[in-house]
């Protein structure tokens, strides 16, 4: 059993993924390649370096990355500042990151033991207790590292922390099964109901995902489902109706909240840092009209008897007078 995982970000005090205030671990590796993904640094399973040109203090005064790299000439500079790495030659050895004095090279992903995670978790215990919060794993897809999640969540439950797993559930049931005994709450996405389109936009079909969601519901698991609403991709009537049908007919009342996450241009900077092209570049939207469309979709779900909110909240907003 693996007691270490590769974590690319730890967010303390997040309120978006699960109830209350939480410590959230973002794990490396994902089977999907959603075009709108805002965490491209999560895709590859191994640690990587990201390039942040604006933080580079310049080749002339520093040059630490070049000096430290065992592969030689793999760095690209513009106007004297580090602009990119030849990823075909980079072995992700992280030597340049270690040497960089300025956070221009960022390490995406580092080994953490369960105990290291627990030590961080314990530091904010009081906040969880007061707010009904706890620990969330996300990614990437945490089920890529299901052994680690199992070990981490087991340790969490042993100390009484609420656990929440946010996953694509694009994983074999045997992986899912490992974490379930220690998981209090599940968050997943319904990205697209048409499998061919799902494949087109995320790189995989949706059969396995839907099958897992059905099975989770059958086992009486409470779910928070999310639709990342992407203009022109999944906000059409047909997909929305199909989503509602699936929730009502196949998930047997196990969805406690459906959350609509409106598309935002997030993560462009991270794509750049990894030298990966940003596929949503072309999407230009009328923010207000789009927001109205998202609210309309929420009303539709609610009219079908599905508790649906815009954003990562579970409670209705009260409006100031």
């Amino acid at each position: 059993m693996t007691e270490t995982g590769i974590v690319f970000n730890v967010q303390r005090f997040t309120i978006h993924d699960g109830p209350g205030m939480r410590t959230e671990f973002f794990l490396k590796g994902c089977p999907l390649r959603c075009q709108w993904c805002s965490n491209p640094e999560s895709w590859a399973p191994q640690p990587q370096v990201g390039v942040y040109r604006t933080k580079c203090i310049g080749r002339k005064v520093c040059g630490g990355c070049e000096d430290s790299c065992p592969e030689g000439d793999i760095f690209r500079f513009t106007a004297g500042k580090l602009a990119g790495i030849d990823r075909t030659k980079c072995t992700d050895c992280l030597a340049c990151y270690e040497e960089c004095p300025s956070d221009a090279l960022k390490q995406w992903g580092r080994q953490m033991t369960v105990e290291e995670c627990m030590e961080l978790i314990r530091r904010d215990q009081g906040y969880y207790e007061r707010s009904g919060g706890g620990v969330t794993v996300s990614g990437g897809d945490p089920l890529v590292q299901s052994d680690f999640v199992e070990a981490l969540f087991r340790a969490c439950k042993a100390e009484g922390y609420h656990t929440c797993c946010e996953s694509t559930f694009c994983a074999s049931w045997s992986e899912v099964e490992k974490v379930l005994p220690y998981t209090d709450l599940i968050i997943s996405d319904l990205k697209l109901m048409d499998s061919a389109l799902h494949r087109q936009y995320t790189g995989v079909g949706n059969e396995l995902i839907l099958q897992n969601l059905r099975r989770l519901a059958q086992e009486g698991r409470e779910l928070i489902l999310r639709i990342p609403v992407i203009p022109g991709v999944n906000d059409g009537r047909q997909n929305i109706e199909a989503s509602a049908d699936f929730i009502l007919r196949q998930l047997g009342g196990q969805v406690r909240t459906l959350q609509l996450l409106s598309f935002m241009r997030l993560g462009e900077e991270k794509y750049k840092s990894l030298g990966i092209p940003y596929q949503m570049e072309a999407v230009r939207l009328q923010r207000r009209a789009f927001q109205r469309r998202v609210e309309e979709i929420a009303r539709y779900f609610n009219s079908r008897g599905i508790h649906c909110l815009v954003g990562t909240k579970e409670k209705e907003e009260s409006q100031p007078e």
């Binding site: 309120i15 203090i57 005064v61 520093c62 630490g64 956070d103 707010s131 909240k313 907003e317």
Partner: protein, 836 residues
């Protein structure tokens, strides 16, 4: 622990949502049109200099030059109260100002005139970059110059200057500004809360009666017979004048009522007259009269002296009996009266010298804290209707004053917590929150009983004080610990030591060092030596500062006794000792440290890079800061990067060093004796002095370049390169609660800023409430929030005219953002914006 509830209510549901963050072009926050009008009138009025007090005080001093000081101040006060112009403003329901028109700053020549003479002639108040004041005309300008000239050689400033030697001056504002004792060198002290409950019970007649009894009973065997006699005589002169002054308002109200065509306003004016007659000597019979008496008594403290932070004590407690007993008043009208008084409390305006102004921006007196909530003397929760109403009044007025402070404890009722959070979310910078746990512990460190300690109120920004019992000289000096650290780096010399320095000929040129040579970065053999050097430097400089403060304290005692306000302290009245003579039960001097995190991160960089990892040498680091990091870009980036340990990230490596700095400072201040028989009391807060101090501080090892602000209050470092705290709000809180806040018996201060979105919705409200609860539980003493994004502040910089009433929390106090100096605006924008 179980949720506690209260039946105390204001006029609105306790969970009413006001709004999220500052709203442009919103002028009608109050349900009472009168209040919105009064507020707008206030905002639209300009800031003047008023010559009348200067004229009347000078005239009196010239007539009474032969008298002892207590009588001099008494006759001067009397002359002002009997002859100053008085005015009753449209729509007002409570009357009385500080013997000058609204927003007009009187002059207090008793303290100092040199800066006035200098600034009027060479740096006109109206040409300041911020905090401008306008002298009404050339004739008054000349009068100010003439009258102030008479005072030369007669002021506290003069008394102090001849008593400080070069060792004391070289580190002060007259030298290298390692510490700044400006505030009480050039102006009054203030920073007190009187015993309002006793005043309400006795009235001015009761106080006069007591003074007369004590005077008659004086024993001629008492070696202090004469000074006590002078004290009681002064109290009698002053409080008799107060009665006449209040009667002048009664007469004016009657005259105005007689001429008033509007029946409603006429009735109001008649009631004002009745109220003034009632409280001129007697005790208040109604809630309205209690507020009227409060207003007169408080404003008059600012006629006697321009000491600021005249605070209102636990107002929901001492005022409550008058609210409860007044069967004629509706809750709604009680709230309207409170709001009238809130707006009115903004009227007093103080003209400060340039140096003090740089330490604390803002044209109000400042520091008028109004404390509510907390536990009673018996330890039970103190919440009542007024607690809730006073928060509503705050949300409805949204002005600089009063600085509402909610005392929190583990048993604070849910309703009060939610109401406080709703006010905080509205984003106007009030209220600040105080934590009874460490505050009560801190009070007991000052020698108070548990019952007394539980009765603490907040004075000024964050200073804990016992109303009517303590004269704490809070806020006595600002200490630039980053500049002290410079001495540690460079053998007791400034790192830019050279002929450009005004002190060069008497210091560097002679081969001297500014401070003791306790080693330098290129010579330390171990990190322990560095820590030892910090300790020795801090001892040296706190010695210079504290001994200077004792001189300043003696000057106040010698030249500017305060018999009027002393009479509002029971122990002064009983002992015959003025406040300046140590008449209060508890006395102290509280200087506060700035730049703690700058020092902590500097030490972390030295420890990690030089001694632990040996990534660079001490000599290199020293050269780097000597060159303002020029040519050391790699090192500069590194010390600012996440690869180096920084305070504020829940990282024990750096947090231990913050703790070391905090404890070293507190240790060298706490417990020293003051001339009034009190003890020194350390505070760790900077207000906005960190900005001005930064301007005078060379580059520091934490990655700060010369001139940038040093770290604020208990907050982490943010340099032009970036913020050093990157792990979010829980990490900051965990870092800053690794120190024992009660050691800082003069208070600690923490600013946190969240953008509106972070606290939106029910979840946002509940999370903020939970966050605060845990913050309190962890034992931090104070917290205040800015619910405002950097974007909003930048927008206000671009269109100041649209953001005239946008309050921001600066540090302990809220101020109008657009009126602040540019460097302070920048500092506020740079402070890390936190997200949940």
């Amino acid at each position: 622990m179980a949720t506690v509830h209260t039946t105390a209510r204001g006029t609105e549901p306790y969970d009413k949502v006001y709004c999220l963050g500052y709203q442009v072009h919103h002028e009608d926050w109050s349900p009472y049109p009168r209040i919105n009008k009064l507020r707008q009138t206030f905002l639209d009025r300009g800031y003047d200099v008023d010559v009348e007090r200067l004229r009347l005080v000078t005239e009196s001093y010239q007539q009474h030059e032969h008298l002892p000081e207590k009588l001099k101040v008494a006759y001067a006060f009397e002359n002002v109260l009997l002859h100053c112009g008085i005015e009753i403003y449209d729509d007002d329901l409570i009357v009385g100002e500080i013997a000058s028109p609204v927003k007009s700053a009187p002059i207090y020549p008793e303290f100092s005139v040199n800066w006035i003479l200098d600034e009027v002639q060479n740096h006109p108040f109206e040409e300041r970059e911020h905090d401008q004041f306008y002298i009404r005309n050339e004739k008054e300008k000349q009068e100010i110059l003439d009258l102030c000239s008479w005072w030369k050689g007669r002021t506290l400033d003069d008394y102090i200057n001849v008593r400080l030697d070069d060792d004391q001056l070289k580190g002060s504002e007259a030298g290298k500004k390692i510490y700044q004792t400006n505030l009480y060198h050039y102006a009054g002290t203030g920073h007190l809360a009187v015993d309002y409950a006793r005043l309400m019970r006795l009235g001015f007649d009761g106080l006069l009666e007591r003074a007369k009894q004590k005077l008659a009973a004086l024993d001629m065997h008492d070696p202090e017979f004469c000074t006590k006699r002078e004290f009681y005589q002064a109290v009698i002169i002053m409080h008799s004048a107060v009665k006449k002054y209040i009667e002048r308002y009664a007469v004016l109200a009657e005259e105005m009522a007689a001429k008033e065509p509007n029946a409603k306003r006429k009735a109001e004016l008649e009631q004002i007259a009745v109220n003034c007659h009632a409280v001129a000597g007697g005790t208040p019979k109604t809630f309205w009269q209690a507020l009227q008496l409060f207003n007169f008594a408080t404003m008059l403290i600012c006629v006697e002296s321009n000491g600021h932070s005249i605070s209102y004590g636990r107002m929901d407690q001492w005022l409550y009996p008058y609210y409860e007993a007044d069967k004629s008043i509706s809750k709604d009208f009680a709230l309207e009266l409170l709001e009238v008084e809130y707006v009115k409390l903004n009227n007093p305006t103080k003209l400060k010298d340039r140096g003090s102004m740089a330490l604390r921006n803002g044209r109000g007196f400042g520091g008028e804290s109004l404390t509510i909530g907390g536990v009673k003397r018996d330890g039970t929760d103190a919440t009542n209707d007024l607690t809730m109403l006073m928060l509503e009044a705050s949300a409805h007025t949204r002005m600089m004053n009063p600085w509402v402070c909610v005392r929190m404890h583990e048993g604070t009722p849910e309703e009060l917590r939610v109401k406080a959070v709703e006010c905080i979310r509205a984003g106007y910078g009030h209220p600040k929150l105080f934590n009874d746990g460490p505050a009560i512990k801190g009070m007991m460190r000052k020698g108070m009983t548990l019952e007394e300690a539980r009765d603490y109120c907040v004075v000024g920004c964050v200073e804990i004080s016992l109303p009517g019992k303590e004269y704490g000289w809070h806020d006595a000096a600002y200490v630039n610990t980053a500049k002290m650290m410079e001495m540690v780096l460079n053998g007791g010399r400034c790192i830019d030591c050279g002929p450009h320095c005004p002190r060069w000929s008497q210091c560097g040129a002679l081969g001297k060092h500014l401070g003791p040579d306790t080693g330098s970065l290129d010579r330390y053999a171990s990190f322990e030596e560095v820590k030892q050097s910090v300790d020795t430097q801090f001892e040296y400089w706190t010695n210079q500062m504290c001994s200077s403060l004792c001189v300043i304290e003696n000057a106040h005692r010698a030249l500017k006794p305060l018999p009027y306000v002393s009479a509002l302290f029971e122990d002064c009245m009983e002992s015959g000792h003025d406040l300046t003579e140590g008449g209060a039960k508890y006395n102290g001097i509280g200087p506060q440290a700035s730049g703690m995190a700058t020092c902590a991160d500097s030490l972390a960089a030295i420890k990690q890079l030089v001694f632990d990892e040996k990534r660079c040498t001490g000599a290199e680091l020293l050269e780097a800061v000597k060159h303002n990091w020029k040519g050391y870009e790699k090192l500069y980036a590194l010390v600012n990067s996440s690869k180096v340990h920084h305070y504020g990230n829940d990282d024990d490596y750096a947090d231990e060093l913050f703790k070391f700095m905090f404890e070293t400072y507190c240790k060298h201040i706490a417990g020293r004796k003051t001339p009034r028989g009190g003890i020194f009391s350390p505070g760790v807060y900077s207000v906005n002095a960190n900005v001005a101090m930064g301007l005078n501080t060379n580059a520091s090892v934490d990655g700060r370049k010369a001139g940038e602000a040093i770290s604020d209050n208990m907050g982490p470092v943010h340099t032009d390169f970036g913020s050093h705290d990157i792990n979010g709000p829980t990490a900051i809180v965990n870092s800053l609660t690794k120190v024992d806040h009660s050691l800082a018996t003069n208070g600690t201060l923490m600013n946190l800023r969240f953008p509106q979105e972070a606290v939106a919705g029910i979840e946002g409200r509940d999370n903020l409430a939970s966050f605060i609860e845990e913050y309190i539980h962890k034992g931090a003493m104070h917290v205040q929030f800015n619910i405002m994004s950097a974007a909003t502040m930048r927008a206000a910089q671009k269109k100041p005219e649209d953001y005239k009433d946008m309050l921001v929390r600066v540090a302990g106090y809220s101020a109008y953002f657009v009126e602040l100096g540019k460097p302070l605006q920048k500092d506020l924008i740079q402070r890390t914006e936190l997200h949940f």
